[in-house]
């Protein structure tokens, strides 16, 4: 064994990894305002989470992985995209851990690093915000058409379409607010602030 040479590229610098994951966890703590150490792993969050059936890691596991600094696994997980923000977990948590807020923080970090395993959910969010930035309000028809077009599901909801139109549920034209500039500015300055090194 001793004579075997190990290829340098296979070496992992554990101390750097450790520092990286520590600073990641500190960042999440700072941005979300939630201390991951508050969680004592009772599992009440997972037990009541309506989306648990579809998640790759249970909400409790996300908390444990955060405590252990498992950055990559967390940021590649589907769980952070599937949280519907129903706030059941936070209402029940005996340690008042604001899990939905943690999920938001983690999702944002995943986006920054280019991970989005739930492509459709990401696409819908992007188009929704594009609509708000553009018109100041959501343009449902444009949103649905744009989503179907970009997600390649051209005929999705075609059964629903006529009924919705007949019942005049969906308007064909967007409504633009008068001071649209003010809303655009909120969007642009948020982005700027983020580039300048985030919020305090």
């Amino acid at each position: 064994m001793g004579s075997k040479t190990v290829k340098k590229s296979n070496l992992v610098n554990i101390s750097t990894l450790f520092t990286e994951s520590r600073s990641f966890v500190a960042m999440v703590r700072q941005e979300s305002g939630v201390d991951e150490k508050d969680c004592y792993q009772c599992g009440k969050c997972s037990a009541g989470c309506p989306l648990a059936f579809d998640m790759d890691y249970m909400p409790r596991e996300i908390m444990r992985m955060l405590q252990l600094g498992m950055v990559d696994d967390i940021l590649h997980s589907h769980t952070i995209w599937l949280c519907s923000h129903c706030i059941t977990c936070y209402s029940r948590c005996p340690r008042s851990v604001d899990l939905p807020r943690i999920m938001d923080t983690l999702r944002l970090e995943a986006i920054k690093r280019g991970h989005a395993p739930e492509k459709q959910i990401k696409l819908f969010g992007d188009l929704f915000l594009w609509s708000v930035r553009q018109f100041g309000r959501v343009f449902e028809m444009g949103l649905i058409m744009g989503f179907n077009l970009k997600s390649g599901q051209f005929f999705k909801d075609i059964m629903l379409g006529p009924a919705m139109l007949l019942n005049r549920k969906i308007s064909l034209l967007p409504h633009k607010i008068a001071d649209g500039g003010a809303v655009k500015e909120i969007f642009d300055r948020t982005k700027e602030m983020e580039r300048e090194g985030g919020h305090s």
């Binding site: 941005e31 309506p50 989306l51 579809d54 599937l82 519907s84 923000h85 129903c86 706030i87 059941t88 936070y90 209402s91 029940r92 604001d98 999920m103 938001d104 999702r107 944002l108 986006i111 739930e118 459709q120 959910i121 696409l123 819908f124 969010g125 992007d126 929704f128 915000l129 708000v132 100041g136 309000r137 959501v138 449902e140 949103l143 649905i144 989503f147 999705k156 059964m159 629903l160 009924a163 019942n167 005049r168 549920k169 969906i170 308007s171 409504h175 607010i177 008068a178 001071d179 003010a182 809303v183 500015e185 909120i186 969007f187 300055r189 948020t190 602030m193 983020e194 919020h199 305090s200």
Partner: protein, 292 residues
């Protein structure tokens, strides 16, 4: 009572009937709604999952507009908008650093916006008018209609922000329906998530979660589900066909807004309340109670 009114994007589109019925019912109850001029979208889930400051910023502009109207209170019938507006309002009150950052970001002063109080319309009606006040206006009682009061996720959660009713066992909506002469059923899913946030992006989730809600209501013997949020209503109404196909059960459960039922009991016609716009028709149910 004078109060600023924030309809939100859904009520100006898909949930038009929620908007109309809310306005008429509030008028009857002496709650004067003044729509916030030039309000903008609250950003919903999309904004706060991208950036918390963006979300608070979008809501703050609306709060500042209310202050310009010389009003101190704002209400919205949408549970999603309520969650965003109230979160922003509470955070501005509590966090001066955040307020300063948002002021810079939105380019406006938020001194006045900080004083604005936000409440869901159900809360305003229950607190300003109450059961007795509602009963006084009832002309055509709902005759023991069996209803599943569906509060959903966001009217009562999180507790520290919503400061209304109970996040696990909400009762306000049940009380309101009782005052109208209906019989709210005891059921398990009154505060469960319907998956509405994934209505377009992941229909499997919606069919699964929405299906559980419909099934729970059916098992409790409900004849209709009563919603207080446009996302819940749209979701459970438009996906009902797909859910029925998936489960092989015909639910045929109308999903109605609480304001539509209030209007009916106050003697408005089903058409005035936009009940003809629902995809699952409530006509048979209304006829059985002499309401149509």
């Amino acid at each position: 009572m004078d109060i600023a009114y924030f309809p939100g994007c859904s009520l100006h589109a898909m949930a038009h009937e929620y908007d109309t019925s809310t306005r008429l019912v509030c008028q009857r109850l002496g709650i004067n709604l003044y729509e916030v001029p030039d309000w903008n979208c609250c950003g919903a889930t999309a904004a706060h999952s991208l950036d918390h400051h963006l979300s608070v910023g979008l809501s703050s502009r609306n709060l500042a507009l209310v202050k310009d109207m010389n009003l101190k209170q704002m209400t919205t019938p949408c549970a999603g908008c309520f969650n965003r507006l109230k979160t922003a309002s509470v955070e501005l009150k509590q966090n001066d650093d955040l307020t300063a950052e948002i002021e810079k970001l939105a380019g406006i002063s938020l001194t006045g916006a900080k004083e604005v109080e936000v409440a869901h319309t159900l809360q305003v009606i229950m607190e300003a008018v109450g059961m007795e006040g509602i009963k006084e206006q009832v002309i055509k009682p709902l005759n023991g209609m069996k209803l599943a009061a569906y509060s959903g996720c966001l009217i009562t959660r999180p507790r520290a922000i919503a400061q209304f009713d109970d996040p696990e066992q909400p009762v306000a909506l049940d009380h309101l329906l009782q005052a109208l002469g209906a019989q709210p059923v005891h059921w398990s899913h009154k505060a469960e998530c319907c998956g509405g946030g994934f209505a377009a992006s992941d229909t499997d989730i919606v069919v699964d979660l929405g299906g559980q809600v419909l099934e729970a209501a059916r098992q409790a013997g409900a004849e209709a589900i009563v919603a207080a949020c446009p996302m819940c209503q749209t979701n459970l109404d438009t996906r009902q066909r797909a859910i029925e196909d998936e489960r092989g059960i015909k639910y045929n459960l109308p999903i109605v807004y609480f304001t539509q039922l209030m209007g009916l009991a106050f003697s408005y016609s089903p058409r005035q309340m936009g009940l003809n716009r629902l995809l699952t028709s409530p006509t048979t149910l209304l006829r059985s109670r002499g309401l149509s």
